[in-house]
């Protein structure tokens, strides 16, 4: 159950301005059935070049319908130049806020508005600005950067909530993470640059973690572990004492030793047993 504000509920149950404007001055369509939400927005101007009529058709959840309804209400009476300044945050604010997971619904509204204005001006659709990162939803690096900067997003999940990127096949998660990291690395000049560890540093950190944490834990159960070799990211170890004969030793190795070393040293490590 979503915690929707009364205003969201009101605009969902009693949506304003449903339908299509006859002889519209601008029309914008975004989304698709595959995406799970879609919006068609149309508007018409009066003699003073103010928006006289704005209507929507939406396929989507309650907050998508409420966001569309709210946006049409916000548009009416504005000039195109004023309308252009409406952001997705404005739409969410108008509704008294949206759950974080539903922010993309307000983005849907802003995108449709942008398209409708391009259509009105007779301009070609906006040339894709930047490179597509998320192929599933056609989201570019520029759009992700903008969302991350404007809304101070910190995780891939946040990015997905706002601009959908990363919500489909998930192949682009690494790239999204890089964009997020890039923005915060730049913002935080004082943060020490992450240097690649030398082999000597890596090995001594592995030894230290084994000595300080892993060995004492295994010794409690009458076992022990010995570091045999490190080759790149492969850590070769030998299990001793009860560990060597324990049936659960593989689980210990993967679920405990490897995970702990990955956390403490570097996430790329793979632990292997030498018999």
């Amino acid at each position: 159950m979503w915690e929707y504000t009364d205003k969201v509920k009101d605009h969902f149950i009693n949506p304003r301005n449903v339908g299509e404007v006859e002889n519209p001055d601008g029309v914008g369509e975004v989304g698709s059935m595959a995406c799970g939400d879609a919006l068609k927005l149309s508007f018409k101007l009066d003699e003073n070049n103010r928006i006289k009529e704005a209507k929507f058709q939406t396929f989507g959840c309650a907050s998508a319908i409420a966001s569309s309804s709210a946006m049409t209400e916000m548009l009416i009476g504005k000039t195109v130049e004023e309308a252009e300044k409406i952001t997705n945050d404005d739409i969410a604010d108008y509704l008294g806020g949206l759950p974080k997971e539903k922010m993309h619904c307000s983005v849907l509204g802003r995108d449709a508005l942008e398209k409708a204005i391009y259509c009105y001006r007779g301009e070609d659709e906006k040339v894709i600005d930047g490179n597509i990162v998320c192929e599933c939803f056609g989201v570019t690096d520029k759009e992700i950067e903008r969302a991350v900067t404007e809304h101070h997003l910190r995780s891939i999940e946040d990015v997905t909530n706002y601009v959908k990127a990363g919500g489909g096949c998930e192949n682009c998660h690494e790239d999204i993470q890089k964009i997020i990291d890039g923005i915060y690395d730049k913002a935080d000049d004082k943060a020490p640059e992450k240097k690649k560890m030398t082999n000597i540093q890596k090995i001594s950190l592995i030894e230290e973690t084994l000595e300080r944490e892993i060995k004492p834990a295994l010794q409690k159960d009458g076992g022990n572990i010995e570091l045999i070799d490190v080759d790149g990211d492969r850590v070769y170890v030998k299990l001793i004492g009860t560990c060597a004969t324990c049936k659960a030793s593989q689980l210990t190795l993967k679920n405990y030793v490897e995970i702990r070393l990955q956390e403490m040293v570097t996430p790329d490590l793979i632990v292997e047993e030498v018999k």
Partner: protein, 391 residues
């Protein structure tokens, strides 16, 4: 406003008879079953009686019943016991349509070095048995196949699968959370090794579950602690809930016929009423291989959450397979595995009935849902009056 509760695959109301048996153990009889005094001992006897009732429902021996905290704990215990008892084996099998309790555990194991075979289903949600059988190997530690699917209601042929897996050295577990209490389940006849049950799906309270472990199955506990459950599950017993579950199992056994007749007729009345009165409404799941209480219907060109919230205004409770929970807006993994087209998958609604539902409630839903669907479709840019049914 009266609630019309048609979401019984999510959870069920606690039967009043169940609550009555529980209350004394939340008030007066608070003893610990493990205590030496007779005040605690009397509680222990009630747990024994509850264990017998649970065993009777599924035709098990009481010694084969382990009480747990929920279906998820039962599933985790079973899978972990199987892989720990067979540490040399690195292959595990399940289906593409399991509940997250199994699905996410298998994904976790896949990340930790296990080879996983995900058995597919066809567009009606029926399991591809040939695929399952052709992927068994000497390296297979466990096959976990749900008895009935929570979303589509499709029942898998567990008897037949158990027969094929017998004597292959593969532990066979079934998540029977949706099946037990709705259709007859006989573990002796089926001959599977482990099976999970959840209390709150059969009118017992939340917070109690069961793992059936066939005598002679290699086992190691998941929760290590006291001697409770014969050292197979540590932790002081959830006495009142266990006693409640015993009563619920007794009631479930008595109600199986009613579910197969009266509830089935109600479900069909609801399903046929909706499909006849609403254009472009498609049934998900093979019609004659489903649980008698479940109906999953897709309403094309609209989105599930919007339908649910409109129904909520009228006090009607159901579920949707469309999870508009994040930017992904992806339909459930079950509907995707069935290959339900996007036009329909986003607008799927699951109705799941119980013996508490009435014909009056069904008729109310059949009368009030069509205008809701119509209203939302009029808002949808994809809806055209008289749109042809997509295949």
């Amino acid at each position: 406003m009266d609630i019309i509760y048609m979401d019984n695959n999510a959870t069920t109301r606690v039967a009043p008879e169940v609550l009555d048996t529980m209350l004394p153990y939340l008030k007066d009889f608070y003893g610990n079953a493990s205590s030496m005094h007779s005040f605690g001992g009397s509680v222990g006897r009630e747990i024994i009686a509850a264990r017998e009732k649970v065993a009777a429902l599924i035709n098990a021996d009481p010694g084969e019943i382990i009480f747990t905290s929920c279906g998820t704990e039962s599933d985790s215990t079973a899978i972990n016991a199987a892989i720990r008892s067979n540490p040399e084996k690195r292959h595990i099998i399940t289906t593409r349509v399991e509940h997250p309790a199994i699905k996410n555990l298998y994904e976790f194991l896949a990340k930790n070095g296990y080879r996983v075979t995900w058995v597919p289903v066809d567009k009606e949600g029926v399991l591809d048995l040939d695929y399952l059988y052709s992927h068994l190997s000497e390296d297979t530690a466990i096959a976990s196949i749900m008895w009935a699917n929570n979303e589509s209601g499709v029942v898998f042929p567990i008897d037949e699968i158990a027969e094929k897996l017998r004597n292959k050295g593969i532990v066979f577990h079934s998540d029977a959370v949706q099946a037990v209490g709705k259709i007859p389940v006989d573990v002796k006849q089926t001959g599977l090794d482990m099976m999970s049950i959840s209390g709150h799906k059969i009118h017992a309270p939340k917070g109690v579950g069961v793992l059936y472990v066939k005598k002679g199955t290699k086992f190691s506990p998941f929760m290590i602690g006291g001697h409770q459950e014969r050292n197979r599950r540590g932790g002081t017993e959830n006495v009142a809930s266990i006693i409640g579950l015993g009563k619920a199992c007794e009631l479930a056994g008595n109600h199986l016929d009613e579910i197969d007749t009266r509830v089935r007729i109600l479900r069909d009345r609801l399903e046929n009423g909706l499909i006849e009165n609403i254009p472009n409404a498609l049934l998900n799941g093979k019609k004659d291989e489903r649980l008698p209480n479940t109906s999953n219907i897709s309403f094309e060109f609209i989105e599930g959450e919007a339908i649910l919230l409109m129904m909520d205004q009228l006090g009607i409770c159901a579920s949707s397979g469309s999870a508009c929970t994040s930017g992904s807006l992806e339909p459930s993994h079950v509907l995707r595995a069935m290959g339900v087209p996007f036009t329909a998958a986003h607008g799927s609604i699951r109705f799941s009935l119980s013996t508490y539902n009435t014909e009056k409630e069904v008729d109310y839903v059949v009368e009030n849902l069509p205008p809701i669907i119509d209203r939302l479709r009029k808002m949808s840019p994809f809806w055209k009056e008289g749109a042809c049914k997509l295949q």
